[in-house]
């Protein structure tokens, strides 16, 4: 049963990857790819760049034309997707610091090398408590300290809960970075290193692409993917199903393979939010690292310097 769902998830992923790649590569209005009705493998392989930056081979039959998405105006990007309240649940018992989420996120958003919007912390709460891996995205707070301090409305809170950045408006004062208690924001200190054709694109708050020199960037909850009915890149990139994403109004969250009622999941597994005492009301919930799928140590081999992993509060 579990295997089966894994398989369908993999093929779903491959298709998603191909489509996502095309979405970023083809901007011309006349699409060179013809739509195909059947998904019978044609035997003809195409080499594509995956979200992890690896070359993968995909059957040509799986390639789908990029649907012409209607262009979203800055005004509607600031309002958000109607009748949704986006929510994320991160299951700490499943994380082993593979950082696939981080790679996919950095790759898809063309984050400047060395910086990351998703960070995976090796946490240890006290001397005798067990260490665990904690991925963090932007918390998309309902009381966002960053939005409160922005002097020009460059970072804003939407109806659907997402906190986004308008890089065409940001003046680069970095007050939001000082205000964010989760240190989730990064700054483009220099011209971000991105392919020319991406850099030339018009900036959209929902894709956060292309990043611009002298402005702030951060996790955007991938609302462009939500509009396409897809999951954020980190969710689909994680092979261990750590990330669940969904809609609070529908009361459901999914990692692509498993779907849960959000309220039941949080109730049964004693979900919590980071720094609840600050009153920021994050949209990201955590499930405690109990009954873990992997021992903490398996994640250490992904550490550049293993001693670094356990030196904090």
């Amino acid at each position: 049963m579990k295997n089966k769902s894994e398989n369908t998830r993999r093929s779903f992923l491959a298709k998603g990857l191909a489509a996502a790649f095309l979405a970023s590569a083809c901007n011309t209005k006349s699409n060179p790819f013809q739509p195909e009705d059947s998904v019978e493998p044609s035997g003809e392989k195409v080499r594509l760049l995956s979200v992890d930056g690896e070359i993968i081979e995909v059957d040509k039959a799986f390639l789908k034309p990029v649907p012409e998405l209607p262009k979203i105006s800055n005004e509607s990007e600031r309002i958000g997707i109607p009748d949704k309240k986006l929510v994320m649940v991160i299951d700490l018992s499943r994380c082993k610091n593979l950082k696939k989420c981080q790679e996919a996120c950095n790759h898809m958003h063309h984050v400047h090398p060395g910086q990351s919007w998703i960070k995976v912390y090796g946490m240890k709460d006290a001397d005798h408590t067990a260490p665990y891996w904690q991925p963090t995205t932007c918390m998309h707070c309902d009381e966002p300290p960053c939005v409160k301090v922005c002097p020009v409305d460059a970072t804003f809170k939407r109806q659907d809960g997402a906190v986004l950045i308008d890089s065409d408006r940001c003046i680069g004062c970095r007050f939001c970075m000082a205000a964010c208690p989760y240190s989730t924001r990064v700054f483009n200190w220099e011209e971000p290193l991105i392919p020319l054709e991406i850099a030339k694109q018009e900036y959209h708050c929902e894709t956060s692409v292309p990043q611009k020199k002298g402005t702030v960037g951060k996790c955007d909850f991938c609302p462009d993917m939500v509009r396409q009915g897809e999951l954020p890149h980190c969710v689909s990139a994680c092979p261990n199903g750590v990330f669940f994403f969904g809609d609070m109004y529908e009361d459901s969250v999914t990692n692509g393979a498993e779907t849960f009622r959000f309220t039941e999941l949080i109730r049964d597994k004693a979900g919590y939010r980071l720094m609840e005492d600050l009153g920021t009301k994050p949209s990201v919930y955590y499930l405690p690292p109990v009954n873990r799928n992997f021992p903490y140590e398996t994640g250490l081999k992904n550490e550049p310097d293993p001693t670094e992993a356990s030196n904090h509060h």
């Binding site: 912390y121 409160k148 020009v152 970095r174 000082a178 240190s183 700054f187 483009n188 200190w189 030196n311």
Partner: protein, 441 residues
């Protein structure tokens, strides 16, 4: 008016008129200009390459620019202390110092506005503050109050100077040859010196003096809120407004003593800026030292008593860690030693007061650095997944050049003002002398 008082009047005008630079003065202006130009060169580099030329990073996202900004805002507060508070309290002895305090205020607040633009990632989008303002941001409050303070300070510099400008435009002094008197004429063209004009001018100055006090408290309280409205250890403090304002009065008063000493020496103004002025300003500085020390004890002792987990790393780094030498320098050289000097009668002689004030101002500059940087090195979640260089901070040469260039710029404005405008109010001095004589008769 009799003949003797007319001669006296001529003498005062002669002595208080702007004078050409001595050789040292010329070198001083050249040196300041060179430092400014190096800063300008560094800023052009920063405009081309981005803030990457600084050593700031995603954790220490505010550095020496912001601490320098806080320093400038702080020192500018002295304008309101001496011009407004002392004036409204009818303190006579401070009158020769008002213009010194006011030009320090104007130049410092002007450079504060410039340095905050230097810190912006997108300075060309400055107008967004007017196009898309969000009033709940403390930055917006800062823009409003600093703009207001700059305007009131310029007016408070200008209004009391109008009679002097009129006087100089007519006076037959050395100035005539070196400075286009047209400027004095232009700035005072409407001034007839009628009793009605004098009355109106006096009223305007009183109104501005009252207005500037709340605005002055606002500029530094709001600047402290840029930090205190965040959750970070070291900044998350209800003490911050009062702590900043008291420190601001201290560094400003120190700045005035330094300027008094230099101007008195350069212009031989011993009759006008007397030892009694140093004695009284010394008393003001020592009082403000005690006040600032009091707020410092509150700011550090209370959290240190509890040693909450997030505060602990921050405080131990200040008290005994890598920032300890600078921290204790700011406390000992910036407060304790000046107190020990200025509390004595001999310590308030011009030379000692000057030395103590230099300590106060240098200590205050490093104090602002200590308020900004160490906190950012102790985020609430540990530093993670960033380039190694983001985990520590020491300003790059460009940052030093721009910061020093801005300090030199402020001193250059003050120097040029003293060169071309009467730094001691002439008309008020004459009136003061006349009144004294009338009393004698």
């Amino acid at each position: 008016m009799n003949i003797t008082s007319n001669i006296k009047r001529e003498k005062i005008v002669q002595e208080l008129s702007p004078k050409t630079f001595s050789k040292i003065g010329v070198y001083w202006v050249i040196a300041l200009s060179i430092v400014c130009l190096i800063g300008l060169f560094a800023y052009i580099r920063q405009l081309n390459k981005g803030l990457v030329v600084t050593n700031m990073g995603d954790y220490v996202s505010w550095g020496i620019y912001i601490s320098n900004f806080v320093f400038f805002v702080a020192i500018s507060l002295v304008g309101s202390l001496i011009t407004a508070i002392f004036r409204l309290a009818n303190i006579e002895w401070s009158k020769p110092l008002t213009r010194i305090a006011e030009i320090i205020a104007v130049s410092a607040i002007f450079l504060a506005s410039l340095i905050i633009i230097v810190d912006m990632g997108r300075p060309e989008r400055l107008l967004n503050l007017a196009l898309h303002p969000r009033l709940q941001s403390p930055i917006m409050w800062d823009v409003v109050v600093i703009g207001t303070y700059l305007i009131i300070s310029v007016l408070l510099l200008y209004f009391p100077m109008i009679p002097d400008l009129k006087l100089l435009s007519k006076a037959n002094t050395a100035v005539r040859r070196t400075w286009p008197q047209g400027i004095y004429k232009f700035l005072s063209s409407f001034w007839t010196g009628s009793s009605e004009q004098r009355k109106n001018n006096g009223h305007s100055i009183t109104i501005l003096s009252i207005l500037i006090i709340p605005v002055a408290f606002c500029i530094h309280t709001v600047t402290s809120w840029l930090f205190a409205t965040t959750y970070r250890p070291g900044w998350d403090s209800t003490n911050f407004g009062a702590y900043f304002v008291s420190g601001a009065f201290l560094v400003g008063a120190g700045g005035v003593v330094i300027a008094m000493y230099v101007i008195r020496r350069a212009y031989q103004l011993e009759h006008y800026i007397t030892e009694a002025h140093f004695d009284r300003m010394g008393k003001a500085v020592v009082l403000l030292c005690f006040l600032y020390l009091y707020f410092n004890i509150n700011e550090y002792l209370v959290p240190a008593f509890k040693m909450k987990k997030p505060e602990e790393a921050h405080l131990t780094q200040l008290f005994a860690g890598s920032f300890a030498p600078m921290f204790w320098f700011a406390v000992i050289v910036g407060m304790l030693v000046p107190i020990l000097i200025l509390i004595n009668k001999w310590g308030r002689s011009p030379g000692w007061a000057f030395a103590a004030s230099i300590m106060v101002v240098i200590g205050a500059w490093f104090k602002r650095y200590l308020i900004v940087t160490p906190t950012l090195l102790h985020p609430l979640l540990p530093m993670r997944d960033v380039p190694e260089r983001f985990k520590h901070y020491f300003p790059s040469w460009e940052e030093w050049a721009i910061a020093m260039g801005s300090l030199a710029g402020a001193m250059l404005i003050i120097t040029l003002f003293v060169r071309f405008f009467p730094i001691i109010p002439i008309q008020e001095t004459i009136t003061g002398h006349d009144e004294e004589e009338e009393k004698l008769i």
